[in-house]
Symmetry: C2
Subunit: 167 residues, 2 copies
């Protein structure tokens, strides 16, 4: 396989993966492109390589920066802005976990707490509802805490879990 072909395949695959995890396709593709570039890339180049419009590139770069996984770089003597991706994979995992926790899990927890605290009447139906949503609240809270804890181990959480878990 040629380098260009491999690069393309990687960008496409990473893009598809991203879109299944709540990050949109172009966003994931830009990230992929930056991650395998050995030096900062300009917006022009991103537009060119992915065949996307300026507006699209701009919006998705902004979103990636909001997630904290892409950075702006300034090159001496250059007017244009360049971009680089977070390349440290542990760091990347931590940032993505934190962001998803903040955006998705925390709000869901709030609702779970609310709905599991209604005063159930004597019916089996309502009792079951309160019990089940209560369990769900506990479960999601625990899972979210695991994420939080993992981010503290940062550099090596995966390896550490593995050591403790495997065989």
């Amino acid at each position: 396989m040629e380098f260009q072909e491999a690069k393309n395949k990687f960008v496409q695959t990473w893009g598809a993966l991203g879109s299944q995890w709540g990050i949109n396709k172009t966003m994931a593709q830009i990230h992929a492109l930056l991650m395998v570039s050995n030096e900062p890339v300009s917006m022009e180049d991103i537009m060119e390589e992915l065949q996307i419009s300026r507006g699209n590139a701009s919006m998705n770069l902004r979103a990636l920066m909001d997630w904290g996984i892409v950075y702006k770089e300034f090159k001496a003597g250059e007017r244009r802005e360049f971009f680089t991706a977070e390349k440290d994979l542990d760091e990347l995992a931590v940032k993505i976990s934190r962001e998803r926790s903040k955006r998705e899990i925390k709000p869901a927890l709030k609702v779970l707490k609310e709905v599991s605290s209604i005063k159930a009447d004597a019916s089996a139906e309502e009792k079951h509802f309160v019990e089940q949503t209560g369990k769900l609240y506990d479960f999601v809270l625990k899972a979210d805490n695991v994420l939080d804890k993992m981010t503290e181990y940062k550099d090596n959480w995966l390896a550490q879990i593995l050591i403790k878990f495997m065989k």
Copy 2:
């Protein structure tokens, strides 16, 4: 808050959460509805409660059964089919992990392996590409193994990780 209101809120929230995790909204809503029902629910009732069409209900129930998180039940003397959700949350997490691993991670790993094995020429660009995709392959493989291992612990993986990790 009234029971009906709480139930509705829960179904909506779970639906929104699901749609951010690669499961579609209706699918997640049906699952939510079944999870908080103390007894099996017929397709009619699902259509009625979620205000969706027969076709939609049928397809999404099928998908949920393919994921292994919703079951058909037959009631004695009843012609119709009824449905229940997996209510054990550890079991639910295991099934979802396995399914996502199979559908998303495994195929991505295959591509990562491929593209990271190209013969890089001497350029920094190609060297960086091979190195970075190689790291990504190792990382994703490790993460996938963690999931696999966790599913073996099944009933209590979350609690176990917590015990080992917290403080």
